[in-house]
Point group: C2
């Protein structure tokens, strides 16, 4: 396609939202009119599905749940007045709590104000708050946030050590729908132990965000934590950033919640249109389908040219991959769907893997995210007439052009600046694009059966560990791996037994190993 035709295509497909100042350009996805025509019926169905979902249909049949994250930013849409009041009340509760923390009306024992937040959660209870914190938190926020999003003992220790003496003025936010997610439960227990080791009352500094009558809610109530906040069962983890899950951390850090929600609401409105060309989420879904033949044949590389959006790709990795990465479609056919997502930021990544994107395996399409506003205040010139921001802009343009010349497709999202309103809009845009794309490929975007499988497998390893330790306790002499396995009737699990004793041995748990470590069958294991 020559430059004149490309420019015409750019203008024909350009989506611009005057209200948000938001642009979407899909002109460098090389689909043709015949493809768009072919997709019309699929989109007609996707738009109908979207309406049903927003109206409160059971969009997650496996878990018999409604999918209501869209109501969070426009409570008038909630299917019942009870739900509407629940949403409004939760938001007010968050704002009131944050404002009392800021003013010092709510404060830690023996200090005037909280200074830090330790936010404990994983997956949907971590990635949204992390992304929003990096994107929007001012340099000197009212509280400094720290995240605990794993069950890694060293990681927890480092976070606690980094907080240091300010632990006594740290507000702990524990986020778990059920209270049963092991990483979060462990993070909470470790944090509690760390507070108690310093003679600090944990409950007087802890709040819970959790489901009704969950394990965590019961702990929070019986231990008289500072507060509990609700986690709605019609909001999935990966779409919970604009629920209390994301909003409490954001409000505590001084981020304007109303603007976040307002941006999402505005984007929701535009992406509700039953028209491909004027619905930016539909344009994204169309582009994804084109890129990967509706089967995820191409990876989605996300490159925001702005440091503060570094975590957006990680946020999208969860949103897109956990929603779309499914074995079966809604009719029960084996489909192995999904789209792999990765990326960091431009132009930094141009000095890393863009070499491969330009010249190597053509197994991806890029989404560039352009931010028009360079900085507050004026810029120095780094060359006559040229600023650092001009370079950033030029590098984005140059890379887009260079990959296009090598037959690699790209989408460009352009926003005026990184502010709460635009972050809300970006979150809403991608939530809707995922919803529409899931309809196009006929899958349930709202469950995650594979995550359950991993948890079960882990639980069975831990149960096995207890049996191994018992067998070692009972034995009067060192045992070979095969003997341990025989003793507990678990010969099929000998490899897991080996890993268990190797790990216990490395952690002063009383397990001795003799023999040649290169030859597992030679090892003799005993308990001190």
């Amino acid at each position: 396609m020559d430059n004149a035709a490309l420019w015409q295509r750019y203008q024909d497909w350009l989506y611009y939202d005057q209200n948000l100042g938001f642009y979407l350009d899909v002109s460098r996805m090389r689909f043709d009119d015949a493809f768009v025509e072919k997709m019309r019926n699929k989109f007609a169905k996707a738009f109908r599905d979207m309406e049903a979902l927003e109206g409160g249909a059971i969009a997650n049949p496996d878990e018999d749940r409604m999918v209501g994250h869209y109501w969070l930013r426009d409570p008038d849409l909630a299917p019942t007045s009870e739900l509407k009041q629940e949403i409004i009340h939760a938001l007010e509760k968050v704002e009131t709590f944050a404002s009392k923390v800021h003013s010092g009306e709510i404060h830690p024992p023996d200090a005037e104000k909280f200074t830090d937040i330790l936010s404990i959660g994983i997956g949907g209870s971590a990635l949204g708050p992390q992304f929003v914190a990096q994107a929007l938190v001012p340099v000197n926020p009212p509280l400094n946030i720290h995240f605990s999003d794993n069950t890694d003992p060293t990681g927890i220790d480092k976070t606690i050590a980094k907080i240091g003496d300010r632990l006594k003025t740290t507000l702990v936010v524990v986020i778990s729908k059920s209270g049963g997610t092991p990483e979060t439960r462990n993070g909470m227990l470790e944090a509690k132990a760390a507070f108690e080791a310093r003679n600090l009352n944990f409950s007087a500094r802890a709040v819970a965000i959790t489901g009704y009558d969950s394990k965590l809610e019961n702990i929070a109530k019986s231990d008289r934590w500072l507060a509990t906040f609700p986690m709605h069962d019609w909001v999935g983890g990966r779409t919970s950033e604009l629920s209390v899950v994301g909003l409490l951390d954001a409000a505590l850090q001084g981020i304007n919640l109303r603007e976040l929600l307002e941006g999402a609401k505005a984007m929701d409105a535009t992406t509700r249109r039953h028209d491909l060309k004027t619905n930016p989420a539909a344009l994204l879904a169309l582009s994804w389908y084109y890129a990967g033949n509706g089967k995820g044949d191409k990876d989605m590389v996300v490159l925001p040219y702005k440091d503060s959006l570094l975590l957006f790709s990680r946020y999208l990795q969860q949103l897109v991959m956990e929603s779309l990465g499914k074995e079966k479609d809604l009719d029960g056919n084996i489909v192995h769907q999904g789209i792999a997502v990765y990326g960091n930021k431009g132009s930094t990544d141009q000095h890393a893997y863009v070499q491969q994107l330009r010249e190597g395996v053509p197994n991806f399409f890029i989404t560039f995210i352009e931010v028009l506003h360079d900085r507050e205040g004026t810029s120095i010139e780094v060359e006559p007439g040229v600023t650092s921001g001009d370079y950033l802009s030029g590098l984005l343009q140059g890379t887009r052009q260079a990959i296009y010349e090598n037959q690699r497709d790209s989408i460009t999202v352009t926003i005026p600046e990184v502010n709460p309103r635009m972050v809300g809009a970006l979150i809403a845009l991608y939530e809707r694009a995922v919803t529409l794309y899931a309809s196009l490929i006929n899958i349930n975007a709202y469950h995650q059966p594979g995550v359950e499988a991993g948890k079960k497998a882990a639980a069975s390893v831990l149960a096995l560990q207890n049996k191994v330790v018992d067998a070692l306790k009972r034995s009067t002499k060192p045992l070979a791996l095969v003997e341990i396995a025989d003793n507990i009737d678990a010969i099929a699990k000998i490899e897991a037994i080996y890993k268990i004793v190797r790990h216990l041995h490395s952690n002063h748990r009383g397990v001795q190993i003799e023999g040649n470590f290169a030859v597992p069958s030679s090892l003799k294991i005993s308990l001190q």
Copy 2:
């Protein structure tokens, strides 16, 4: 394969290095003996290539350069005594400098000691230092590091603001081989302006790591910077972590350089073996080749189960993708090679995209990184007999098993703990695996022609910007895009012109735009 056969396969293929306490398990890559047999000749050639490279052959024919990063940790191997002395001298210079900074012998004007480092570099001059800092820096290091790795004005402003009043005791490390990399050059100019705006002498706080007689070296000398350190032309950016590039930042933060180098040297020695089964880098290269048919058909997902290794996947993304992502092989055939790399950390990612890995598109293989040692000191029990670290270990095992049951392959790297020696060993392991794999697929792993193309494209956008501004200056009336393009004889570049004026308009650069922003052809542009 039943469990007994799997366990046998595990033991047959297990690689264990007693000296390093390092394990590599490729048993869950489902290659068979016939495949291994078929690869023997390719490996024989790869081992010969490796010897030639280490002996000083021109392994980067395009740039007519030797490839010498292996000599950095064993200077006795350098092909000449001059090179050997150069390496030893550079290391001593780094250690001496760091120790004088720590003692206060080298200090900022009007203060006893430096407190912070601002490390300015991009790509190979940032990812290694960032990875090593996250993996190894103690909680209270002698100096706190901050990175500037982009030309994003807001990003630079935030970094400077975060340093705050400590800017007066901040040591600036500028890392650029040529001094011509625009992002680094801009970062340096912005930092200098920020220091000068606070009446702080920049040169008295700046050091350069750069090539002989480069632009940057000339600036550092004429402005009398605190020091300059050499960047060898036989070390590429992505393999420069164990050169001065990585070592200076590491030493300043109190990381033991000798252990880093010693771990790399030990791993280099084992990966020099001309034998597949006892050479862990060869086992990795074999596995990569098997996974992707030697064509990168599968993405490499890197999942370290340890918070401090979070950036390892980003480090590997550059090392692997920039080295292997090439259009042509060494004979000039078009091959579009590479392997896409992404990942963050376990078990956190199990609550994000592992859903797709387990059930969705099977377009990847996983590398699990297991760390045996959980933490310093003892652990609380989160359940009877079970610690947080047991959970981390169980979740790794569980996920490995769950994905295997769904016919997804994985490699497991096991290290005793995250310390300088093991980080050095991991860096060396993957450097060698890339070298061997590049031989298997017959490509030059040491150039990056695609990166140059992006830079050139960006430079042409900036040149166009100056012409556009000139055209607007000359005009007495607002111009349509097509008129600007005509005036500067650049009608083929009208889309780039549109992007340029849109960007200038958003940044108070005197560019006015009237018209309907949704219809670019309607816009009238003028200069105030």
